[in-house]
Symmetry: C2
Subunit: 314 residues, 2 copies
């Protein structure tokens, strides 16, 4: 394969080349690294917006409405829909998310679905790489949508510059539904399906809740939306833009991206160490496991011997 | 702290000591390793049953019913309820699971709730250690219950000898609800709330689905239960016992536990490598991140330099 040519075609926003590049990354193809190395100097221009929240909150419809608005102002838009709760299957369950059918003939929109493959932790890495490809192809905005709202989703939206947490009225106790960790990563809240009767109460509840969080320079706005009609979507986009402006002027965007790059370097380095450890383990692992099973060694003691024998000892 | 004394008290099934030991493990206390090393030779006797499935399937009630049955035959029982979807909070959201109130005065039952703390991946490791403590204290059976059914839950029930996947009738498409990965880890299925009208259809659907999976020596039975009345719980326990017997006679239990020990040794070794990498990174990480941010290096190139400078290079 001619990686240089593929890279050029990605940079010229050829959708076939972009799809191929993403597949290389997802499959962990050896050429993927060279491709990403070539694309890297052309990245950093897209603004990445993550959307997370409980299943059934209407995230996909909201993404659809956002794409429509972004397109109407001329932005090139990338959409990555990620399902970390699907551990083995490669995307079939995401079938319902590969809608956005209205945009399928629009060269200004690129949509991709992803599910977990292989090792845990790999999904966040692959997502970051896919976002980078969409960035390099010239997307002004990349929307990163998760299916649920667990730890894996939190990891995935870690690749976003602004995180929108989508809640819905009437799902019982909002606090319970959103979980503590999700609240803490939110830059903007959307209370979707706001045509339901208890929407105002949910908005008020969320605002009250946010007042309990430690103060920072940014207080997450709570925006009521009805994704199906488009109501409130302009306000949501405006809230995201305000957060972007706040981060750009305060230097927080740069700091956030720097932090993200550090995490990513460490993640890649750890993956390399892990592979090296496995490669050097040989029959040691079998032997040590047998000694743990017999009660002779604890797992920790076995781990230390494994590292020593692999000459990777601390 | 006198770890030797604490270890002795755990081995004599002192509930206060067991609670203290689990807290040490959860908090990553430095003495935890020495404690686990001392307890390790006394482990391997408990049979670990994992229960996973979508929220609302009635797993907690089913666990309660199983505990009742196991107690009636004189088993000492440990219960670990794990909520991986709670990334930062330390257990408050699990409040509703710390029921089993009937058993609170029964010294033959030990119940503990856990939520994610700190790094991803850490929960599965901590769960394994907590199971080991309950094993050492003399539990005949440990029930390991997860709140949801995502990748994190799959990792958690990886510590089980038999995995029971709990489904419910009427949640729409059973396949969609259970996700492919959950199906594949099931040794036994419970269709709970089987007093609902479409229970039989769900049982039939599941059986049909299981016929599509590649054949192995064990075909997962599908048991209908009504946890609230106790109906079917004896059959469920019987199915678990059949799976246990199958694994013991076929040598699969030993192989499965050996495999689990290997994964655990690797996980501990990787955690040690990660800590070492961070400790040796110093200012290199800042500098390399800046060069990635400027487009000069790709994250992969930066990771390789980081490893080289930390003298951990492959």
């Amino acid at each position: 394969m001619d990686v240089a040519a593929l890279s050029e075609r990605v940079l010229s926003a050829d959708p076939t080349a972009v799809a191929r590049a993403i597949s290389l990354v997802e499959d962990g193809h050896p050429e993927a690294f060279e491709l990403l190395r070539r694309l890297h100097p052309h990245t950093g221009r897209a603004y990445v917006v993550g959307l997370t929240g409980p299943p059934g909150a209407g995230k996909s419809t909201l993404v659809d409405a956002l794409v429509r608005r972004l397109r109407s102002r001329g932005d090139r838009v990338g959409v990555v829909a990620v399902d970390p709760s699907s551990p083995f299957s490669g995307g079939a369950l995401l079938g319902d998310r590969i809608r956005l059918a209205d945009h399928s003939t629009d060269p200004g929109v690129f949509v991709r679905s992803m599910a977990t493959r292989g090792a845990a932790g790999g999904l966040a890495e692959a997502t970051g790489d896919v976002v980078r490809i969409l960035d390099a192809m010239g997307c002004h905005v990349v929307l990163l949508e998760t299916v649920g709202a667990g730890q894996a989703e939190v990891d995935v939206v870690g690749a976003a510059d602004t995180v929108v947490v989508v809640a819905v009225p009437g799902l019982g106790d909002t606090v319970q539904t959103l979980k503590a960790g999700i609240l803490e990563i939110a830059d903007v809240f959307a209370v979707n399906k706001a045509d339901r009767p208890d929407a105002e109460r949910t908005v008020a509840e969320l605002r009250a809740l946010l007042r309990l969080l430690p103060a920072s320079g940014w207080e997450p706005p709570v925006v009521a939306t009805v994704a199906t009609t488009g109501e409130g979507v302009a306000s949501l986009l405006e809230a995201v833009e305000r957060h972007r402006a706040y981060q750009e002027t305060s230097g927080r965007l740069e700091a956030r991206r720097r932090q993200r790059v550090q995490s990513e370097i460490l993640r890649v380095a750890e993956a390399r160490l892990r592979a090296e450890l496995l490669a050097r383990s040989g029959t040691n692992l079998d032997e040590l496991a047998a000694r743990v099973a017999s009660g002779e060694l604890s797992p920790r003691e076995a781990a230390e011997r494994l590292l020593a024998r692999a000459a990777l000892a601390p």
